[in-house]
């Protein structure tokens, strides 16, 4: 029996456009739909649950699939499966769920699966403070699964960016065949703000490369192009290809005893991100041209930082802000360049110092002051301003 809707799919409003008022979590869900996501598998967790709730309502309307899995391990596994069946897929979670996903994030890296994982960060470790903001999963996003690999992580500072960077995350995941994270936080996720959603035809959407040749016996599903990314065949097209979490050759066949195969594959998985980092990395440079002191910040902390920089300028301090939209791959050269031109750098983070380590490494001789914040409240602009003053006296 075939069941068809009496409404033509094109009549259903796929993407909600125009000026809207919504929460960050909902904006992220809408961004995913606008990017072409049609599969969501997840498990309820504060403060990311609203993404799942919104997807459970919206996806069936537009012929997509929402499924609540038995845990986060299953959620990410199902997302990888759906992506291999040719559908743009995502999940959304927070710290504890992100921890459970780590093994299969490695599988997604190894099998070069385009997928998006939104982590609305809360206070950890362990169950921590579920309803409070945090930026404590920055290093876990980079290093959480075992082995050597590279991923992409983006950090939104506003509800608008929850939309924009979720679209961007899908584009990057598809372009580089890599799991891509949106590292939001509880404040950005739960905050309500104005969002301008562009018409679909004006939105830049990237889709994975498909094999050019029709199915043949010689198809090698992991043979990369010059950009180090292989075109992706999906299940059901007739390619009869194999994918595995084991170290494999270009045909996808296990090569568990070859140092050459291990070196070639793992180096390429790292290099496809490292060598394309100039195309991936996005930062925002504000009032840095003549700055004596720079704040390097991301996510919710960057909003207070911007306010602090403006206050500093009013007070006669030459301050600037380097806002990181991309956390991984780390914008090392951008930070290094800023460090050369300023006397000091201030890093406010809602953790005990994570991106701080990367900034210190890139800043070399330039002193870096760290402002930690844990718990309910984000940084106050005044605190960041005082820290900037402190570096110049």
């Amino acid at each position: 029996m075939t069941i068809t809707s009496s409404v033509a799919p094109e009549k259903l409003k796929v993407v909600r456009t125009g000026r809207r008022f919504m929460s960050g979590d909902i904006a992220s869900a809408e961004g995913a739909l606008a990017a072409g996501c049609r599969f969501f598998a997840g498990y309820p967790i504060t403060p990311a649950t609203e993404i799942a709730e919104h997807m459970s309502r919206r996806l069936p309307e537009i012929d997509g699939v929402y499924i609540q899995m038995e845990d986060e391990i299953a959620s990410i596994a199902a997302v990888i499966g759906a992506s291999y069946a040719g559908v743009k897929s995502m999940t959304a979670t927070s710290g504890p769920g992100f921890s459970l996903m780590q093994e299969n994030i490695g599988l997604a890296v190894m099998t070069e699966t385009p997928c998006v994982i939104v982590n609305v960060m809360r206070g950890g470790p362990s169950t921590g403070q579920p309803t409070m903001p945090g930026q404590q999963d920055v290093m876990q996003a980079r290093w959480g699964s075992h082995g050597d690999y590279e991923i992409i992580a983006l950090a939104p500072s506003s509800v608008q960016e929850m939309f924009d960077l979720t679209v961007e995350a899908f584009n990057l995941a598809e372009a580089y065949r890599v799991p891509t994270f949106v590292l939001a936080d509880e404040i950005v996720g739960h905050m309500w703000e104005r969002v301008d959603i562009p018409e679909p035809e004006t939105l830049k959407i990237v889709n994975r490369k498909m094999p050019e040749n029709p199915p043949t016996i010689k198809f090698a599903p992991f043979e990369p192009d010059d950009d180090l990314v292989p075109p992706m065949a999906v299940f059901g097209q007739g390619y009869h290809f194999h994918a595995t979490g084991l170290t494999h050759d270009e045909r996808g066949y296990p090569r568990t005893d070859s140092a050459e195969a291990q070196t070639k594959l793992v180096q390429r998985l790292c290099n496809k991100i490292r060598k394309n980092k100039d195309k991936i990395i996005r930062v925002q440079q504000i009032m840095l041209e003549d700055a004596d002191v720079a704040v390097v910040a991301y996510g919710i902390a960057a909003r207070a930082a911007l306010s602090a920089v403006k206050k500093a300028r009013t007070a006669g301090i030459k301050a600037g802000l380097l806002r990181l939209l991309t956390l991984w791959p780390f914008p090392e050269e951008h930070v290094g360049q800023v460090a050369k031109n300023v006397k000091a750098i201030v890093v406010p983070e809602m953790n005990c110092g994570q991106i701080l380590r990367e900034v210190e490494r890139a800043a070399k001789e330039t002193p870096v002051t760290f402002l930690s914040k844990l718990g309910e409240e984000p940084h106050k602009p005044q605190e960041i301003l005082e820290a900037m003053r402190g570096t110049l006296t």
């Binding site: 029996m1 069941i3 068809t4 809707s5 009496s6 409404v7 009549k11 259903l12 049609r38 599969f39 598998a41 069936p60 309307e61 012929d63 699939v65 499924i67 899995m69 038995e70 845990d71 391990i73 299953a74 959620s75 596994a77 199902a78 997302v79 990888i80 499966g81 759906a82 992506s83 291999y84 069946a85 040719g86 559908v87 897929s89 093994e103 299969n104 490695g106 599988l107 099998t111 199915p215 299940f235 059901g236 097209q237 007739g238 390619y239 009869h240 290809f241 194999h242 994918a243 595995t244 979490g245 084991l246 045909r251 066949y253 296990p254």
Partner: protein, 280 residues
């Protein structure tokens, strides 16, 4: 036949460039692969529309040998991965072929929930009573008082009765065979491939190399002899009473019922939503 190359009848179901396989001499996995290929052949299924998904373990390597789209997942996650595949492309026949440790220890949660949802996937479990790939440790199906590398004094854990578990969780088709009953096994795989919803076929598979060696059945022949003597065909008997003991392995079909699959209910829900929107 002169001038013609001799070909194996199931050659097209295998990735020839992956043969020889890694399985030990006398292993039951080859029989399971053969029966699976035979089932696909007899049903004349379009191989372009079949996805074989496996987890980690000896039988987990089967996805590398079937000439279909295939995915070798992380340990225990084959069913969760298959869930995404099936829901994203309902046209595909999705078969999960994996081991007892993979599906019922580390992956047990996914099994019970996929069965509960009546997700339209076909699970074939090769049950060899141990973890073969890692050298023969005890697991959730190791029978009481049997010897493995981690039960040197005999196992003191109760074993899962897999057909009972699958039935309780809601599977619409449940069968158990040993690798001795290849024709019945093939028929059950065929039935499961045609069935709407979550189906489960358990195959008691011989591992003479480890389980056999530790339990006085060190050759495939000796294990087969045990299967022959212990097998008791009891179609549609109570799965709760089908525990495996040294003297009795109840085999046959246990469950064959009709229930709407998750995929069907999803399609119907989407149709309802479409109609509601149209009438607004």
């Amino acid at each position: 036949m002169t001038g013609e190359e001799l070909r194996h009848p199931y050659e097209k179901f295998l990735r020839k460039d992956r043969i020889p396989h890694i399985w030990c001499e006398g292993c039951g996995n080859g029989i399971i692969l053969n029966c699976f290929a035979r089932a696909l052949d007899e049903l004349n299924i379009d191989l372009d529309k079949v996805a074989v998904v496996s987890g980690i373990g000896c039988i987990g390597r089967i996805s590398g040998y079937t000439n279909t789209d295939s995915f070798h997942t992380t340990h225990g996650r084959a069913i969760a991965f298959a869930t995404g595949v099936k829901l994203a492309n309902p046209e595909l026949t999705v078969a999960v072929i994996s081991g007892d440790g993979d599906l019922f220890a580390i992956g047990g949660n996914h099994f019970i929930h996929a069965a509960r949802r009546n997700l339209d996937i076909k699970v074939i479990c090769a049950n060899n009573f141990i973890y073969g790939m890692t050298g023969g440790q005890g697991g959730p199906t190791t029978p009481l008082n049997t010897w493995t590398t981690t039960t040197p004094y005999g196992s003191i854990e109760q074993a899962f009765n897999l057909v009972h578990l699958a039935t309780a969780c809601g599977a619409v088709y449940v069968a158990r065979w040993t690798t001795l009953q290849t024709r019945w096994l093939t028929e059950s795989i065929k039935k499961s491939l045609q069935k709407e919803g979550f189906s489960f076929v358990e195959v008691i598979s011989e591992c003479p190399e480890i389980f056999g060696r530790y339990n006085k059945m060190a050759t495939a022949l000796k294990m087969m002899k045990w299967f022959k003597e212990a097998s008791d065909v009891q179609h549609f008997s109570d799965p709760a009473k089908a525990e495996i003991t040294p003297s009795r392995i109840v085999i046959g079909e246990f469950i064959d019922i009709e229930k709407p699959s998750y995929g069907r209910l999803l399609r119907e829900m989407k149709a309802r939503i479409g109609d509601k929107k149209a009438s607004r």
